[in-house]
């Protein structure tokens, strides 16, 4: 009994401390950026962190009377660490926004916390559709898988392709790609076969042989960005590009970060995605130039642009909420729309998910470097998995 009372007192005391610090936080407004900075997904973390810092550098650290401070933490891509860090940041560092989240499980593990602590959570990379439904405090500035593949499937059908195969990595986003692409494709009258490869898979040979045996008209690939180049090289090495099987992919495979070193094998590859470093707009040119200058020539990719836009959403949200955090900030971020380096984007007021253009691109050599060159635009795509 004594313990219980003591516990209550302590919790109450902590509550007061928290409230007090909320009042004194007039000066600083901390954004906890939780990213995989080590481990296999470290490049995600680096891109996003670099872009977020760039944003603060460009727009100044002061917004709506508050000084923005980014607290960067490495979760090594491990979900319970992400959650623990998020909790730690909220409780101890008193951050007002948690952001980042490189992978779906990391975001899902943290979602209940955002609700519990009423802390806005800006998802800058994880792409599984359901994430934003897990907490009313989640806002996403990345992309969702169905948002990319559903219009892509429609586009493929329009090219007169009727027999497809998919090859996806055997994990959440991969299953999403497979499902949403296949559903749309079948609904449009096509036939499609599905193949899954283990996530930690060094050699694609057996799977490529399967595809060669299936003889589809085209094959859609979704694998995490690093492995993608491996796949394409082996695809070309087996002469499958000449056997009449067209290779198409989501933009993860031709990630700007690694596209150039992939070399000529990638030439002509058609992908669908929401951002290319070669996107032709003044906003993007400025962004790419600044990003490169600040990061030793590193080319920004779609993750970087999500990090950049994520910070933008927080800044604009703060302006609208007059510096208030919590629910007010989430509400302020709903319905925001702006010109991003990737093109016009907005935050859907109902789903808190991003609405953006999806581009069909082709890999081509420009000024001696490989880029994804956009040639078709599907404007203002909402996440098709929601609000049906």
């Amino acid at each position: 009994m004594f313990r219980r009372t003591l516990l209550r007192t302590a919790v109450a005391a902590a509550g007061i401390v928290l409230a007090a610090s909320g009042a004194s936080a007039q000066e600083t407004f901390k954004v906890g950026l939780i990213l995989p900075m080590t481990g296999p997904f470290a490049s995600t973390g680096k891109q996003i962190a670099a872009a977020a810092n760039l944003y603060v550098q460009q727009k100044g650290a002061v917004v709506a009377g508050k000084r923005i401070e980014i607290v960067l933490k490495d979760d090594t891509g491990v979900a319970d660490v992400t959650r623990r860090i998020a909790q730690d940041l909220i409780v101890n560092d008193k951050v007002s926004v948690i952001a980042g989240f490189g992978l779906t499980p990391l975001a899902l593990a943290t979602a209940p916390l955002a609700t519990q602590a009423k802390t806005p959570m800006v998802v800058m990379s994880a792409a599984t559709s359901i994430i934003t439904e897990r907490s009313p405090f989640i806002v996403r500035t990345a992309q969702t898988v169905p948002q990319i593949v559903t219009p892509f499937a429609e586009w493929t059908l329009k090219q007169g392709i009727k027999r497809m195969a998919t090859l996806v990595s055997d994990y959440g986003p991969g299953h999403d790609v497979e499902k949403f692409y296949s559903d749309t494709f079948r609904a449009g009258g096509g036939t499609i076969e599905n193949l899954r490869v283990p996530l930690a898979n060094p050699d694609f040979a057996p799977f490529l042989q399967r595809i060669a045996d299936m003889k589809p008209e085209a094959v859609l690939v979704f694998v995490p960005s690093g492995v993608g180049s491996q796949f394409i090289k082996q695809f070309v090495e087996r002469g499958m590009d000449k056997s009449g099987i067209r290779l198409i992919a989501t933009g993860d495979v031709t990630d700007d970060d690694i596209l150039n070193p992939m070399g000529d094998v990638a030439l002509g590859l058609v992908t669908a995605h929401h951002y290319s470093a070669a996107h032709d707009s003044p906003e993007n040119k400025a962004f790419v130039a600044a990003f490169r200058a600040a990061n030793g020539g590193m080319r920004p990719n779609f993750m970087a642009v999500s990090g950049y836009d994520g910070m933008h959403a927080i800044y604009e949200g703060l302006k609208k909420s007059n510096g208030q955090g919590g629910e007010a900030l989430v509400n302020a971020m709903k319905g925001l729309s702006w010109m991003s380096p990737r093109g016009p984007v907005s935050i859907d007021a109902e789903t808190r998910d991003i609405v953006q253009n999806v581009y069909i691109r082709r890999v081509a050599r420009v000024d001696g470097e490989l880029y994804n060159i956009e040639f078709e635009t599907i404007p203002n795509v909402k996440d098709p998995a929601k609000g049906k």
Binding site: P40, S43, P206, G263
Partner: protein, 283 residues
Amino acid sequence: MLTILFDGIAYGMVLFVLACGLSVTLGLMNFVNLAHGAFAMAGGYTTAILMNRYGWSFIATLPMAFFVPALVGLLLERTLYRRLYGASHLDQVLFSIGLVFMAVAATDYFMGSQPQLIQIPEWLRGRVDIFGVQVGLYRSFIIAVCGVLVIALQLVLTQTRFGSRLRAAVDDPRVARGLGIPVEFVFAVTFAVGSGIAGLGGALGAEILGLDPTFPFKFMIYFLIVVTVGGTSSLIGPFLAALLLGIADVGGKYFVPELGAFVIYTVMIVVLVFRPKGLFARG
């Protein structure tokens, strides 16, 4: 069908080249060097840097992919590894895992975390049709290189004076020393060569397995499987084990893709439970 067999063999060969240095240090020098993959990575990065930054041709980088890790291996052997020859396996495991941690972080720091890509020369790309079997040129190249390597290593170990000295030094260092065999020198050279071969494997395998800073961790398990399943008493054991594993893995993924990585792990456990000293161990 035969294509799958061929791919499996090529895959197994790469595994062997990567692992055979380990089987030398483990089998002959009784040292569990989990950092073996780090040497392989060093070789891969040597090739990638020379090709991408200095425009060397792929073939020209291969000797460097051998020598650089061999040199690093020699240095580390002289300074660090040497002290742990008598230590328990656990100590060796811990020490070498520590090295892996350092290697991974250092590579990440200097080279960035993105995967390194290399362009194999034009004449190794594509595939040819031999008796109705589609054969990838690069994979044939790998098989050829590895085949030569296996034969050469086996000859060195069994036929040369160095080989017999090495075996003597391993069996009983004290007596060997008494007989005038420069044990330290023999060990150092062996270690360096083992590291060099791993580097070569890393360079050859970069195209098939990929190359990024987490390479030593990703493939450590594969190397260990090859070596433990093959047994450590000869080179032939790991060689056959690597082939078996390569074929089983590729074939398993082709015929029953749902099972994924089960095949390779289960094979390992079953073999080790019934033949704790490895499949091809003598005695």
